[in-house]
């Protein structure tokens, strides 16, 4: 009941951490060939070392980082907007980040300057979230939020389609399309290290908004009078979400619904408290994305299923279910 907030959730967080560790181990072991775990620490150019260190390890680390930031961003956005349906994908942040990345890919800026990709994705996400907030931020009703999200996603989608439409050859068009579907396959450690600092900065910004999110439970007036400068909180959350989500989109494409599903599942375990939900959702998001990334490799399809396709197949029905539930409770 008392003491640091972390202490109350220690069993939950420890459980989630174990789950993440088990899934990460499993993810390392799954692949077309059996490779011993020792390959992770092997030196040199043995096949085991290359497969483990250059193919599977980046995949696992990216799943951890991207899943964690998606879960965290979902929990934080839901707290800010006081709406359980908020999520980086649904509010259009992911597709706008993708648009930023597509622009960089399209004009070949990536070759000039590798950081252009994550930076453009971050910029895209910032613009989308700021616009969303201008449209729907002060009104925690479900409808405005969803409508604003649809409008932003459609706009970003239209511009991405334009890029595909105008792309000079079929190959680069299909490249963009497949990248958009979302995948962690064949990513490199460089990509992980390039995006990690941004994601870490974003996560830090989001994690430190917890008290304000708790206060926002009572609405904006009460949160202000409990000592929070809401303008600052909003800027911190918009910047934090964009920094956390943008680089992930730049690396792995659009992976939706993680930020929707994870906070919803974990909320009852943290007494529905926004602050306590943040860290739990970070762990939960990492676990869910690791599991999904194992899923795409285990599901027997001719071509490996894209990660974003799987999360959407599971997430979209979940979203529908949530709308039903929220609508009933708000009616």
């Amino acid at each position: 009941m008392s003491g640091p907030p972390l202490l109350a959730d220690l069993p939950l967080l420890a459980g989630l951490a174990v789950l993440v560790a088990v899934l990460a181990g499993a993810s390392l072991m799954i692949g077309e060939v059996a490779v011993p775990m020792s390959g992770l620490f092997a030196d040199g150019n043995s096949t085991a070392a290359i497969i483990m260190q250059e193919i599977r390890l980046p995949r696992v680390l990216l799943a951890l980082a991207i899943g964690g930031t998606l879960g965290l961003a979902g929990a934080a956005l839901q707290g800010l907007l006081r709406n359980p349906l908020a999520e980086p994908g649904i509010i259009g942040a992911s597709s706008s980040a993708a648009l930023g990345a597509v622009i960089v890919l399209y004009f070949g800026l990536f070759n000039l300057f590798p950081l252009a990709l994550p930076l453009a994705a971050i910029a895209g996400a910032v613009i989308a979230i700021a616009l969303l907030f201008a449209l729907a931020g002060r009104d925690p009703s479900v409808l405005t939020l969803i409508l604003a999200g649809i409008a932003l996603s459609s706009l970003a989608g239209a511009l991405i389609s334009l890029a595909i439409n105008l792309s000079p050859d079929a190959l680069s068009a299909s490249e963009i399309v497949f990248w958009l579907l979302g995948s962690l396959k064949d990513r490199s450690m460089d990509q992980f290290f390039l995006s990690l600092p941004f994601m870490a900065a974003g996560a830090l910004l989001l994690l430190t908004t917890g008290r304000a999110l708790d206060a926002l439970t009572l609405g904006e007036d009460m949160a202000s009078t409990l000592g929070f400068d809401l303008k600052r909180v909003r800027v911190q959350l918009i910047a934090g979400t964009a920094l956390a989500v943008g680089p992930g989109v730049a690396v792995a494409g659009v992976v939706g619904f993680v930020g929707l599903v994870v906070p919803h599942l974990l909320r009852p375990f943290v007494g529905h408290e926004p602050r306590r939900l943040l860290l739990a959702s970070t762990f939960g998001g990492a676990a869910l994305l690791l599991a999904a990334d194992i899923g795409v490799r285990l599901i027997p399809t001719n071509v490996e299923m894209k990660l974003g396709v799987l999360t959407a197949l599971v997430g979209a029905p979940f979203f529908l279910f949530l709308i039903f539930k929220v609508r009933r409770s708000m009616a």
Binding site: L226, G271, E273
Partner: protein, 273 residues
């Protein structure tokens, strides 16, 4: 000494004056009833006092310092505010919602400590919601919810409490209990402004009454001095009788004022209602 001082507050929104040169001062250990018809500007005045609204003219001082120069955390530790119709957006437990009142004293890495829980226990008892502590906040009835929100505001332990209609929707027993509680707070040295519609309770429990109409303060005096049958007719447009004396005065509305109330005359002589 006055802990809160507001002068010449004017708020204009979309061309309409919501507050016109309104002012209020609050002394140590005083409980002030803020009354007036719907739309008189009571909530706007309260929101100005805690710097949720920046007035177009006029200013507010808390302990002598302009409220606009204070940071949000500084204001939070001086002035607790209970908003009218504040909602609860997540199904958190009642005791956790009450615990939100301790946020001004927490930090990112520190949750509720022993001192915080002592305060929470006390305000749960004072507002008579101990038995509800584990309930999910959105399942409470209207009256229970107001008591919970008042408990959160009390948990702030700020020297000044501004409560916007804390007893609307409460049953008579709890109305008396909450008014008694607010008066006890004042007796122990805190300063309270409470927006009320119940004129009898305002007379009985408040040291002073501030009567607002049409964005102005039209009377500010000892409780009995403000509420006269003539004023009630003019401001509320009702015929009312005031019976009894001392602490047992009651206000009984009879019906619409006869003849119908003239529009409220502003001090400058302009008609504004």
């Amino acid at each position: 000494m006055s802990v809160l001082d507001a002068n010449g507050l004017t708020v204009i929104r979309s061309g309409t004056s919501i507050l016109r040169e309104a002012g209020l001062s609050l002394a140590d250990g005083e409980i002030v009833g803020l009354i007036g018809p719907n739309g008189a500007g009571k909530t706007t005045l309260l929101r100005c006092l805690v710097n949720l609204i920046n007035p177009d003219r006029g200013g507010v001082r808390v302990n002598g310092r302009p409220v606009a120069t204070l940071s949000r955390p500084e204001i939070a530790r001086e002035v607790a505010y209970l908003a009218q119709n504040a909602g609860v957006h997540w199904p958190m437990s009642v005791e956790r919602i009450v615990g939100l009142g301790r946020l001004p004293y927490s930090s990112t890495f520190r949750g509720l400590g022993r001192r915080d829980w002592t305060v929470i226990e006390r305000v749960l008892e004072e507002t008579d919601i101990v038995h509800l502590r584990d309930r999910q906040a959105p399942t409470l009835s209207g009256g229970e919810r107001i008591r919970m929100l008042l408990a959160s505001a009390l948990a702030v332990e700020a020297p000044i409490l501004l409560a916007d209609e804390p007893i609307s929707g409460l049953d008579p027993g709890h109305q008396l209990q909450i008014m008694q509680l607010l008066r006890d707070l004042a007796r122990r040295g805190r300063s309270v402004v409470v927006v009320l519609h119940d004129l009898t309770l305002a007379l009985r429990y408040c040291d002073r009454i501030v009567l607002m109409a049409d964005g102005r303060v039209v009377a500010d005096d000892q409780a009995a001095g403000v509420l006269t049958e003539e004023r009630l007719a003019r401001v509320y447009g009702i015929e009312a009788q005031i019976h009894g004396d001392g602490g047992n005065r009651i206000v009984v509305p009879i019906g619409p004022a006869q003849p119908p109330a003239r529009p409220f005359e502003t001090p400058t002589g302009k008609r504004s209602a």
